[in-house]
């Protein structure tokens, strides 16, 4: 530790996140951490493990599974969970469709993205989770830039952006009534570059699809989508093999890849530092619905 008593920005962000995670563990009955296998949730899980070391993570993790997965990501998810000895709750969109609880869109542009909300809310209710950790960051999207670290959700899981609790200093207010819950975002103040720098500094493990690899892809709406069993091609679209990597990982039908030769964390940081497109703008069809796409989904209870 330097005698000047200075912390780097990553040390400051890490301390802030650990503080938030410990507050939740101390004040809530049944927290859960959303873990998709994506890089932000991998970093969040890493921080949560650090917050309680040498004890084990005092809460389970949950994956809202659309059924449209990259196999590499599911492998990674299961391996991490096994290594840490934590309990994994899987909330399955496929099961909800099969049970007739939600109805799937049809057509070549169909996505299960919106269906996740209902499945997530049901899982929160069934498991009586009262705090749900999400890996969302304020730099990702303009509606998220306005969200609190402790974000209150009513009985219906809804977010009311105009009626948020003031949040001052590091004094978080997690009070709620039974049936209500709090979404908690420990990575609120991190940027995409911070995440990658932290991954490099800490050696956080990620699924292989984040690194450049050859993949069969096709172009749609200016994005490279991976060839997958669930997305039929539209006339004029052709599958070709390209060197790509993913900047975000979500449902395989709506997560685009970027052309890249960055095969390790250092090269990704170099690319991220000079990129001129946001990660969601570049690679997420789900955010392109409208100017207020994210706000509308969040109001309904989305991540």
């Amino acid at each position: 530790m330097p005698a000047t008593y200075e912390l780097t920005h990553l040390q400051t962000l890490e301390a802030e996140a650990i503080h938030i995670i410990r507050e939740v563990a101390a004040e809530f009955e049944r927290p859960v951490l959303l873990f998709s296998g994506g890089k932000d949730s991998a970093v969040m899980l890493h921080l949560a493990v650090k917050a309680f070391a040498p004890a084990r993570l005092p809460f389970p993790v949950m994956h809202v599974d659309t059924g449209h997965n990259f196999p590499e990501v599911i492998d990674f998810r299961d391996r991490r969970v096994a290594e840490l000895g934590v309990r994994l709750v899987v909330a399955s969109v496929q099961e909800a469709i099969d049970a007739g609880k939600v109805v799937e869109d049809t057509g070549p542009r169909a996505s299960r993205n919106r269906l996740q909300t209902a499945v997530l809310l049901e899982a929160i209710e069934t498991n009586r989770f009262d705090a749900v950790f999400g890996g969302a960051r304020r730099d990702e999207e303009k509606a998220r830039a306005k969200e609190r670290v402790f974000s209150f959700r009513d009985d219906f899981g809804q977010w009311d952006p105009k009626n948020q609790r003031p949040e001052l200093w590091n004094l978080y207010n997690g009070r709620h009534r039974p049936g209500e819950h709090i979404r908690v975002f420990p990575l609120s103040n991190w940027t995409e570059l911070d995440i990658w720098q932290y991954i490099a500094a800490e050696g956080v493990e990620l699924p292989s699809i984040y690194f450049a690899h050859r993949r069969r892809v096709f172009q749609r709406d200016g994005m490279w989508l991976a060839e997958n069993p669930w997305t039929p091609l539209i006339e004029g679209e052709e599958v070709e093999e390209r060197m790509v990597r993913f900047r975000t990982v979500g449902d395989a039908t709506c997560t685009g890849a970027v052309e890249s030769s960055a095969a390790d964390v250092a090269s990704i940081i170099a690319e991220t530092a000079v990129t001129r497109l946001t990660e969601r703008g570049a690679t997420r069809a789900d955010d392109r619905i409208s100017e207020a796409g994210m706000e509308d989904r969040k109001r309904e209870g989305y991540f």
């Binding site: 650990i18 563990a25 303009k142 830039a145 207020a292």
Partner: protein, 420 residues
């Protein structure tokens, strides 16, 4: 690389959005897809110029009404520092938002229109920055291009503002003449104002010394969580996890645990990366003691010969944050201070402060939304506190309505109530 958090305040037309837009754009923190979306929306709305406020005003209601209703956080970095901007709306009804954005800021940026000079809002913003204990205040005199880059005008505003700031608790005050629209003195030094000998704004933000702002004297560790692994490997491990709120903790330090008063010695300061030699604010650590004493969440670990105030009678400045109710003597509320929850009775409202004139109204019956006043509180449990000006982490609290669970008040402790 250090992290600097700063809050901006300004009214609708003083060019705050333009200034932030320029800082973000010139530091490449605005991405092409964001800029294109803003340009598209500006065009659709018939704006004459690209409205950079649309970058931060992310909510539907904000875009529809063309106003900022909530604090927006923005991020950018230069090779020297990483910055978090809490962009707060300047309107009087948004005092609550400015207080929120300012609570964690190292520095406040207040904008003044060079043509209008120091107006009521500028004084309010400066006062709130000082009330919230922001150590550094930068006054940007904007639109210098519209006053012919006049040195006299700049000096005039500077003198007027300085006279007002003398009444406030401002540790470091800087003045920078700028033109956000043309970029003068924002990132690059202006060639239009050769008389100005200071640095450009970005350079100031990169260089301002913040490391000594933290309290490194009064060792304070509010216990957040007790770590007991209950595994064979760590059978006897018992660690007190928390975020250091002041001072420095080292193995071998003699410490006292409040409220029990038990004394012990620090055996180790642990992190997940291994033990450290020293811990200081705002590190998140786990402290182990040499003795088996009873310590739980809400307790405070500090040095034996440097203890915080311990008490249930507290004088504080409170900003009221809700329109749903008012703060009146006799009110009962939940209070959160460090990691400790309790209940509090509002015994007395001593005065309400006019945030524009600093006039104290001792006849005020209550504090309404956005109003600030001095109150006397009696809490159900003792709090372990310092004066807010000495330590923001152990001198601040929030008040919560027990019916709605909403955060309704923000408090800054002046000290223990003096017994007459």
């Amino acid at each position: 690389m250090e992290l600097l958090r700063f809050a901006t305040a300004g009214s609708v037309d003083d060019g705050k959005s333009t200034l932030i837009g320029r800082l973000l754009y010139d530091s490449k923190a605005i991405f092409e897809d964001q800029l294109e979306a803003v340009e598209r929306t500006s065009l659709e709305r018939g704006d004459e110029y690209t409205n950079l406020a649309l970058l931060t005003d992310g909510l539907r209601a904000e875009r529809e009404q063309g106003i900022t209703i909530d604090v927006a956080y923005r991020y950018f970095a230069t090779p020297k520092r990483k910055f978090i901007i809490a962009d707060t709306p300047g309107h009087i009804q948004y005092t609550r938002n400015m207080v929120t954005g300012a609570s964690t800021a190292d520095l406040a940026l207040v904008l003044i229109d060079a043509r209008k000079g120091v107006i009521e809002q500028s004084r309010r913003h400066a006062f709130l920055a000082s009330l919230l204990g922001i150590p550094h205040l930068v006054l940007c005199v904007n639109k210098m291009d519209l006053v012919d880059w006049s040195r006299d005008r700049f000096e005039e505003i500077k003198a007027e503002f300085r006279a007002f700031a003398m009444k406030l608790d401002v540790r470091d005050l800087a003045f920078i003449p700028i033109s956000a629209l043309h970029g003068d003195n924002v990132v690059e030094r202006s060639t239009n104002m050769p008389w100005y000998e200071g640095t450009a704004l970005l350079h100031h933000l990169e260089e301002v010394h913040i490391a000594s702002d933290r309290n490194l004297i009064d060792a304070r560790l509010p216990v957040q969580y007790v770590i007991r692994p209950m595994s064979d490997e760590h059978h006897d491990y018992r660690g007190y996890a928390g975020t250091v709120a002041g001072g420095v903790f080292k193995p071998g330090d003699e410490v006292v645990v409040l409220p029990s008063g038990f004394t012990s010695t620090i055996a180790a300061v642990d992190t997940a990366d291994g033990p450290v030699d020293e811990a200081f604010a705002p590190m998140a650590v786990t402290v182990r003691l040499t003795d088996d004493v009873d310590v739980s969440r809400g307790d405070m670990i500090c040095r034996v010969h440097n203890r915080p105030h311990v008490g249930q009678d507290i004088d504080a400045m409170v900003c009221w944050l809700t329109a749903e109710s008012e703060l009146r003597p006799g009110a009962k509320l939940a209070i959160k201070h460090t990691t400790r929850w309790g209940r509090t009775l509002v015994k007395d409202l001593q005065y309400r402060l006019d945030v524009n004139t600093l006039h104290r109204d001792e006849a005020a019956p209550a504090l309404a939304l956005n109003e600030i006043g001095r109150v006397r509180l009696r809490t159900t449990v003792p709090l372990f506190f310092d004066e807010y000006r000495r330590n923001r982490a152990t001198g601040s609290f929030i008040l919560v309505d027990e019916t709605t669970n909403n955060t309704v008040g923000a408090g800054m402790i002046l000290g223990p109530t003096e017994v007459a």
